[in-house]
């Protein structure tokens, strides 16, 4: 999570050449994400081979008409595993930050609006969660809970809560003093109305931009856990576990590690690019409203 905070800090202090135009890279990244998402969603209906079918006679086969991207060290079709792996990485990568967004966002909004004891309690308990280096916490909890996709998603989601809480709280703190909120209070609006109708629509934008960066971080952490063999349970494919398996045949067939590595890198980069652009557009601290 520290990566995200770093990039937020330098955005404030650097003299910024603000690009109103989104730029070519932004569109390339968006197109890549749409392609990957579509492939992942359509994976079961695409004419792919079964990603779990082993063929011991065709181990580490080269590219061919039958296996477009060859086969892995157990003779499984590489292309099918890449696409089904994308499914796993993206499922975890998208759902986990949603948990963080929903819970962290709500906590941050409430803490920033009501202040006082509640805020102290929320910030304090988040500090406790932040005391655990995220990867180590995730590892320890999966070790106890057992490896499965729902467990993995839940843990990574919980780990994201503090970061989302901070973003939501920071945005709420500045917004709650703005004229339109004071006007709503003066008109006798209830707390619920101010929170939902005045603050939430303004807080949700930076949160959504942060969400995209959260997806990138989550995909990396999921990849790291699966790479170590402690994330997605085998024989299921995830990009991380494929890189881990490919590592053993680095000397004979480096592509087995590099194909999923390229997929992972480009996807993480694309989420970072799109998220960073969105953040630059929605950052309330630049007074761009």
């Amino acid at each position: 999570m520290a990566t995200l905070e770093l990039s937020m800090q330098d955005e404030v202090s650097a003299p910024i050449r603000r690009r109103r135009k989104l730029g070519l890279l932004f569109w390339l990244a968006s197109i890549w994400l749409i392609v990957i998402l579509t492939l992942a969603i359509l994976a079961p209906v695409l004419p792919l081979q079964n990603p779990l079918d082993m063929d011991m006679l065709e181990r580490r086969a080269a590219f061919s008409g039958e296996h477009w991207l060859g086969t892995d060290s157990l003779g499984r079709d590489e292309l099918a595993r890449l696409i089904f792996g994308a499914r796993v990485s993206l499922t975890v990568g998208l759902i986990a930050p949603m948990i963080g967004l929903a819970l962290g966002g709500a906590l941050g909004l409430l803490a920033g609006y009501f202040r006082g004891r509640f805020e102290t309690l929320v910030v304090g308990s988040m500090d406790v969660l932040l005391a655990f280096p995220p990867l180590i916490f995730a590892l320890a909890v999966t070790a106890y809970l057992g490896q499965s996709i729902p467990n993995l998603t839940m843990i990574l989601g919980v780990l994201g809560i503090p970061a989302f809480m901070r973003v939501a709280r920071a945005a709420t703190l500045t917004l709650a003093r703005r004229e339109f909120v004071i006007a709503a209070e003066a008109l006798g609006a209830s707390h619920a109305r101010i929170l939902l109708r005045e603050l939430l629509p303004n807080v949700i934008l930076p949160l959504l931009a942060f969400f995209l960066l959260g997806v990138a971080v989550t995909i990396v952490v999921e990849g790291a856990l699966s790479f170590l063999g402690l994330g997605v349970p085998p024989p299921m494919a995830s990009w991380g576990s494929m890189i881990g398996e490919g590592r053993d045949s680095l000397d004979v067939a480096p592509r087995l590690a590099f194909l999923p590595a390229v997929g992972l890198f480009l996807t993480v980069l694309a989420f970072n690019l799109v998220g960073d652009t969105m953040r630059a557009l929605t950052d309330p601290r630049q007074g761009a409203l």
Binding site: D10, S13, V128, I136, Y144, V268, N272
Partner: protein, 316 residues
């Protein structure tokens, strides 16, 4: 200053307590009975019940927490039921490896990040600046395990310059020890430098717009002197905090890197404990790492207060 330190110390006590409670609860509430793990599949119910009594597992939860905490406070974190080593022995044996790795990584990271940042800030917006800022952004999307695979492929498999895995203590064979550490430290450093570079670059650009820099230029000082003597020091304050924040990420990073490169450090101890379901080691190491992390953050806070007096007094 003393007042400030005491206040901050009192503030981290509840955090440390909560960390210990959370670590204990994770280890105790989640499925998987420790007695079954120790005795294995062939355990009879009588054996399990006896062992549970011996280990105090039949006591209520709050009592187990308090007695565990009592032991921890006396420096007794328990003993691995697999190797017979105490948690403290195991950690003490492995901490030099992790520290050496982290120090070398941070050193190489600074070695790359600082010159690049200065060069970028000197001509902000120029071709070199745009290229390096772009590269730094791309590098931030490169997970350390990808970098490790890439480096192993290049330097160990293709070029055969460096060993991919292995370790010898520094005291026995200093040169060989460093050879084993080059790739793991480089892996971490390549993930570290973009953060260092981005922070220093933006601080330096801000400093270069100050009046006294304009004065130095007007006096006709050499640009290199202005950059290194006048601008670098006041720009490097944020770097201290960043180094502190990095430690958490480095800890996570060492876990992966130590496993990939087979370095016997804390990270590998933890992963090994997970593979063998050595719950005592796991619980002890997680507790120590989390407490260490809290204390490091505390020290960074203190350093920051020393460097910037405003923090000591206000509630900034």
């Amino acid at each position: 200053m003393l007042n400030f330190i005491v206040r901050r110390l009192l503030a981290i006590l509840p955090v440390l307590l909560a960390v210990s409670l959370l670590t204990f609860l994770i280890a105790s509430l989640l499925p998987g009975d420790l007695a079954y793990v120790i005795l294995g599949d062939q355990a009879t119910p009588e054996n399990v019940a006896a062992l549970r009594r011996d280990m105090g597992l039949d006591q209520p939860l709050w009592w187990r927490y308090l007695s565990w905490l009592g032991h921890v406070l006396q420096g007794d974190l328990g003993r691995s039921f697999r190797t017979g080593q105490t948690v403290l022995q195991a950690v003490a044996e492995r901490i030099p490896v992790s520290l050496q790795l982290m120090l070398m990584a941070e050193f190489i990271g600074l070695l790359i990040g600082v010159p690049v940042a200065i060069a970028c800030a000197a001509r902000a917006g120029g071709a070199f600046d745009r290229f390096m800022t772009g590269s730094a952004f791309a590098m931030l999307s490169m997970p350390s395990f990808l970098m490790a695979i890439l480096l192993i492929y290049l330097f160990a498999v293709e070029l055969r310059w460096l060993p991919a895995t292995g370790y010898v203590p520094f005291s026995e064979e200093p040169l060989n020890n460093l050879r084993f550490f080059v790739l793991p430290a480089l892996t971490l450093a390549l993930a570290e430098w973009p953060g260092i570079m981005r922070v220093l670059r933006s601080d330096m650009i801000a400093t270069l717009q100050e009046d006294y820099i304009a004065l130095a230029k007007a006096k006709g000082l050499k640009p290199s002197r202005i950059l290194f003597v006048h601008a670098l020091k006041p720009s490097s304050l944020t770097l201290v905090t960043v180094t502190g924040i990095n430690i958490g990420r480095l800890l996570g990073g060492t876990l992966i890197v130590e496993t990939i490169f087979a370095l016997p450090g804390i990270g590998r101890l933890l992963v090994g404990a997970i593979y063998t379901r050595d719950l005592v080691i796991l619980q002890g190491v997680v507790l120590l790492v989390a407490c260490g992390f809290v204390i490091v953050n505390f020290i960074v806070d203190m350093l920051y207060a020393v460097l910037d007096p405003r923090i000591r007094h206000g509630h900034a």
